[in-house]
């Protein structure tokens, strides 16, 4: 319990943890964190895999440029990347005004500080990670296998489903693990796009630690976050091992 303050006994943290797991508000924060992280993980894999497949298999010269464009955001500050969504989703933002001008709605809807905002922000953050993990997996699969499957009469979709995806599964599992763990622990995005109305574990932890100075609660929240991350990495290495032996 390294993150526990020296003067708060461990028993108090576990007592606080027990309370949290019964408190409806805290449960909502935990549920929201896991739910949003799951949603972002699914979206990142569903969008990232086809992009990675296309980048790895396209003979076009442009694919190198598109790969660089996909990787570059990884080097860019999360604050900068997330700030863009404030401009798009804010009360005077581009998306709301576009919807009004198109006559779809009369008044610009509340887009910021919603779950949608957090999901968009986290997807932007972690999609490059998903693309890279899938890309290296796809690049290791012999393109001849795709051709063989197609040559034997399988449709494109069937080839994808029965040949490419099973062979690239380890890469997909790595992608999903990185995105899920990243989403559970991300701070900047839920802070800027979720605010206090859509608290996640990270923003809740910071609130306990710096606003209310409630160290027992902060430590209990930290414990929940750590357990979640360890659970997902344990699960993923378990799947990885199973995949390797079967």
């Amino acid at each position: 319990m390294l993150f526990a303050p020296p003067d708060v006994p461990t028993t108090e943290i576990f007592a606080r943890l027990g309370e949290m797991l019964k408190d409806p508000y805290d449960l909502e924060v935990i549920g929201r964190t896991v739910g949003l992280a799951l949603a972002v993980t699914i979206i990142c894999v569903v969008l990232g895999f086809p992009i990675a497949y296309w980048l790895a298999r396209s003979p076009s010269r442009w694919s190198g440029v598109f790969l660089a464009v996909a990787i570059f955001p990884l080097m860019l500050s999360n604050v900068v990347r997330t700030f863009g969504w404030l401009v798009i989703l804010g009360s005077k933002g581009a998306l709301g005004q576009l919807l009004v001008q198109l006559g779809i709605v009369d008044v610009a809807p509340q887009l910021l500080y919603t779950k949608l905002a957090i999901v968009l922000g986290l997807t932007q953050l972690f999609l490059p990670l998903a693309i890279i993990s899938c890309y290296s997996a796809v690049a290791q699969v012999d393109p001849g296998l795709d051709d063989a499957s197609r040559g034997l009469g399988a449709s494109r979709i069937r080839t994808m489903w029965n040949v490419v995806i099973p062979l690239t599964m380890p890469g997909i599992v790595v992608a999903a693990t990185l995105v899920f763990a990243g989403s559970v622990t991300a701070y900047t995005t839920p802070y800027l796009l979720g605010g206090s109305s859509q608290r996640m574990l990270s923003t809740q932890l910071f609130n306990y630690a710096s606003t209310t100075l409630d160290w027992a609660s902060a430590s209990a929240t930290a414990l929940i976050m750590t357990v979640l991350v360890f659970l997902i990495s344990g699960l993923s290495s378990l799947i990885g091992r199973k995949g390797a032996t079967s």
Partner: protein, 263 residues
């Protein structure tokens, strides 16, 4: 397009990744006082304001100091460790490798909380030293992995040949091994400086009155006022990142830098 579904998903993915960045740049050049799109006229005034805003400038210098020092320390520790892992017959090699691979998936906010409790409260260290410890630990895996990736490609026979021709172990290291490692070390350093400079979760709880990092200062500013100055500061960061990315691409190649991390 032969694959309509793939194409549609790819377009959505790229829009989500890139469009917000374009909006940041577009609003940075506004002449108006609010974050609005489309912007009211074009001017450079917000760049002026951002570069003249003392908290940002001070924090930028602090962040750079921290990033460079932490990277230097991480390399000083990381390169010998990488050598030991790859060349030596280290007992518990798997354990060491596992240890250095792990921090990428550790919740940084929790690490920040732990460092705050143990080093700042428990051992009475100041903000800067605590941040330096945290950032160095966070940067170590980059140094170990990226250097390891380039070392794995190098032929150990070269080193043995140098030794066989009478070079001392030290000389063999500096004249043969180090040149082989240089691109890896360079890319590790670049990536590590950038990552440290941008870090929020680890640094968040370790801020002090006399030492604040730039990303956290910007976050605080956004929460208080809603003007385009942060857009201008962000655009400057973006420009600097593009320059670094181009240098990295020219010298070692993107795919290698990041491929080394995820495999």
């Amino acid at each position: 397009m032969k694959r309509p579904i793939t194409a549609a998903l790819a377009v959505i993915g790229y829009v989500i990744m890139i469009v917000p960045i374009i909006f940041v740049v577009a609003t940075a050049f506004t002449a108006g006082n609010v974050l609005r799109f489309p912007p009211d006229g074009i001017s450079l005034r917000w760049f002026d304001e951002a570069l003249g805003y003392e908290p940002f400038v001070e924090a930028a210098i602090s962040s750079l100091e921290l990033a460079v020092l932490a990277t230097g320390l991480a390399l000083l520790i990381g390169v010998p460790v990488t050598l030991a892992i790859h060349r030596g017959k280290l007992p518990g090699k798997g354990l060491v490798e596992g240890l250095f691979l792990s921090p990428l998936i550790v919740p940084e906010l929790v690490v920040g909380l732990a460092l705050f409790q143990q080093l700042m409260i428990g051992m009475d260290l100041d903000n800067f030293s605590t941040l330096l410890v945290g950032h160095t630990a966070l940067m170590l895996p980059y140094a170990v992995r990226v250097t390891g990736a380039s070392l794995a490609l190098a032929d150990p026979a070269l080193e043995e040949a140098a030794r066989g021709l009478g070079a001392s172990p030290l000389r063999a290291f500096f004249n043969v091994t180090l040149p082989v490692l240089r691109p890896g070390i360079f890319s590790a350093a670049l990536l590590s400086v950038v990552t440290s400079f941008n870090n929020v979760p680890l640094s968040l709880l370790l801020q002090g009155r006399d030492f604040r990092t730039l990303p956290v200062t910007m976050l605080d500013y956004v929460q208080q006022s809603y003007d385009p100055m942060v857009a201008a500061a962000s655009t400057l960061i973006l420009a600097a990142t593009v320059v670094i990315a181009v240098v990295a691409e020219r010298t070692v190649g993107f795919a290698k830098i990041f491929g080394g991390i995820n495999q």
